[in-house]
Symmetry: C2
Subunit: 386 residues, 2 copies
Amino acid sequence: SVMSSGKKTPATLSSDSVINFARGDPTMYHSYWSKLGDRCTMVIPGNDLMSYFSDAGNLCWFLMPELDHAVRRLHRVVGNAVADDDRFIVVGTGSTQLFQALLYALSSPDEPEPISVVAAAPFYSSYPEETEFLRSGLYKWAGDAYSFDKDGPYIEVVTSPNNPDGAIREAVVNREGGKLVYDLAYYWPQYTPITHRADYDVMLFTFSKATGHAGSRIGWAIVKNKEVATKMVKFIELSSIGVSKESQLRAAKILGVISDDCQDSGPNKEETLFEYGQRLLSERWERLREVVERNGVFSLPKYPQDYCNFSGKYTDPSPAFAWLRSKEGLNCDNLLREHNIVTRGGTTFGVGSKYTRISMLSPDEEFNLFLERLSAIKGTGKGNCY
Amino acid sequence: SVMSSGKKTPATLSSDSVINFARGDPTMYHSYWSKLGDRCTMVIPGNDLMSYFSDAGNLCWFLMPELDHAVRRLHRVVGNAVADDDRFIVVGTGSTQLFQALLYALSSPDEPEPISVVAAAPFYSSYPEETEFLRSGLYKWAGDAYSFDKDGPYIEVVTSPNNPDGAIREAVVNREGGKLVYDLAYYWPQYTPITHRADYDVMLFTFSKATGHAGSRIGWAIVKNKEVATKMVKFIELSSIGVSKESQLRAAKILGVISDDCQDSGPNKEETLFEYGQRLLSERWERLREVVERNGVFSLPKYPQDYCNFSGKYTDPSPAFAWLRSKEGLNCDNLLREHNIVTRGGTTFGVGSKYTRISMLSPDEEFNLFLERLSAIKGTGKGNCY
């Protein structure tokens, strides 16, 4: 589960306090938005946003037109996805709700058995539980896409860049009857070079990972097929009668400011969110790689440099998570816990316990302490029991 | 479905425009909040509300402490429900999400078959669809509680005052193994006399119906049992990783202003939300009853006057919906549609088509037009086909 190990880190970090990197709380971005001052401040009068309806003429009747506009514009400015006017935008209470709306939209009560849902391991740890917890007769989790060999229709979730390991991915099953869901939560310039405008049937994005505003619970889907979009809207109507208008309006404002800054070519232009994120994350990755290399206990994936159409230069990927592997095959999560570092172990992602996932989006103070503790870990033994 | 017939009424109402009373969009309250000016204005800086977590030490870790406090205080001030500190508050994306969280919390994957979910007819039209749409193996809709006679565990939803018919209700099945969910969305002084502090195991409330802020998608449950509350939190974590913080904070502010005004005993005290709502609704009910009596085609339920502990006087109930019955047994929804009045017919509430439900919470202009058209309807025949 995403949150079950989520006790908050105390404000003052003492030398033996436990630091939590198990969740992907994107608190790193706080300092960026502080720097922007009042530019993103929302003011909402008491008599505003009262109706259930946002845009009764839109297929997605609870989508605020401001957010619709801001989302399409930002994708155009960044060049990471095609969100032209012939595509449907469906807003959700985070992309978590949209993922479940898609399971509903891509399945059918008329099928003789539940449709299989797969993803290539290592896969996002919440997919299996989100698919299974209500014991739906419409869909069921069928595990690792690499070992999936059942005939008939299936849904494959392709997360790219991947959570947990940052890999750029394509579908792996590639059989008839397959329906693909692209989770592009991390396909933004701070995490990876933008190499093409994604143009898949169904693409998921989330405000949390794009800008760091996880508390707003805003995600959006870009959908080509009208019937799929209609069923997603129906799901969201039945599960929550729409999505918070306050959050939608705030997301619209913040995404709008990002687009403004990206398009600003004046002499006093601000550092954009993407430049800031990329700068911080690549510094962190560099320092992490140094520590990992020096102590010799772990390894990290290597990512190929690529040309980023957005920044106009070659950049290194700097994923939101570090996918750490114990060289000696030890239980990596346990090993780190002994040093008061809480991470999320490989087994929850469908692979072995020699892997663990570490959030790279923590505040500076926590990240520094993490590196300090990681540096102190030495090779085999030392009383660890595996 | 709540929304499928939800085309927005045009801003200018011409004599032949269709007016929609099928949904319960509480737009009537807009004028009240306009009158209060800046007192409920929310200001949210761009760097605020970013983390997934609201209160990591709380069982409901995504509940904003401000909302927790405001909800408990308002119930204390109004006296409609016990929300003492030993009760758990669980926030949801509307009470719609909380209803589904309860189905999950009160069922078990270890049972041999899905638990039956029932409600006494006429029941809220969305309960069956919300229970059924994912074909869960944990719970299933079992219809009218009056005719339920299956042994074993069951969930009974008790809506009081009832949607659609405004009746004060108690559980009807009363058998061993029953789990009760009290949906108290309309148990506020503008709709009904507050006769006691409700103190059930599980009680649902919603911001939409209490204050008219339907677009915020905020509901809350008051729960006695820790295990039930824990499972509800788990459901909301899995379905949306929490609830919009912007909406929670805004709800906290608005509920706080209502409590302030209710506690104000000064000479210049404002008309409270409840006084305003009660005044408007009782005027509307009086006018509606006059029209219904005059044209002789329909009848309406009668509600007993009762002593309201909150207002300190005897008041008449003035429900949020009018439950209209055709005296001649005609299809009431069809009859009204012929006069360009869209309502929600009795069959969706589990009873006959001679009933239909009409929202009493529309803006003045629409309500006036409704009465005008209703007045014009004459007894049998006149080319109507039933």
